[in-house]
Symmetry: C2
Subunit: 141 residues, 2 copies
């Protein structure tokens, strides 16, 4: 059976995370499991893209989990060996073919290219790929 032509695409990071979390061993599994405040350090060439983001907003940060193993397709959820292996697409494991992290955070402060956010489990130096607003109800869009 013919497969879709395997066109690849290039991610060019728009910034990086600055965090007290030095390694994944220090990091909680999800942002709401005790993750610290952190800074999003954006590149100067994307400054115009931040316009309209305000303190108090809840946003989705997309990262590239640069330490992930992209060859893994099955994992024990939360590294718990008592749980049966699952396909990575049924887990939030960082191990997956395209290791994009999704992080829901609140904006605590904005100073030019430095955005302070709550509850980010990504480690120091993690490349940032995109920022998106959380969608409100249809009437609010």
């Amino acid at each position: 059976m013919a497969e879709y032509p395997a066109n690849d695409f290039t991610i060019r990071p728009i910034g990086r995370v600055e965090s007290p979390l030095a390694s994944t061993a220090d990091a909680p599994r999800q942002g709401d499991e005790g993750a610290p405040e952190a800074y999003l350090i954006l590149n100067s060439d994307v400054l115009a893209g931040l316009e309209g983001i305000a303190v108090g907003d809840v946003i989705i940060v997309l990262t590239w989990l640069h330490q992930a193993d992209r060859s893994i397709l099955r994992v024990h959820p939360r590294d718990d060996l008592s749980r049966s292996e699952q396909g990575v697409f049924n887990t939030r494991s960082s191990s997956r073919p395209n290791p994009i992290g999704l992080h829901r955070v609140r904006v605590l402060g904005i100073d030019g290219l430095r955005v302070r956010v709550s509850d980010l489990e990504a480690i120091d130096g993690t490349p940032i790929v995109d920022l998106k607003p959380v969608l409100g109800s249809i009437e609010e869009r």
Copy 2:
């Protein structure tokens, strides 16, 4: 000020969308604004990653919006010229430096590498980058 070294990363799609939506002109702006059912056609080499996904699950599909203009940093929200321009990171516009789409859908059927889903506004042929479960409460993880 020194910028983060611009390491790029390569997205290798894991499949593509099969949809009655032939072009973005036909597509609603968001999945919950009248988007049709569609199929996720996964590549055979990621089959093991699907294990555990079941009919009825709500999942997040990440796509690469391959027709997007990556050079745009400011847009009128929803192409409504009566609204002031915003930074793309404060909108869900497909125009953005790394055009990754986030789509929340329900799994309606699974047949090997073909996954039928609800409410997908991505057009026919859109590359699929990742699938993730929606996170439940902390107790359910």
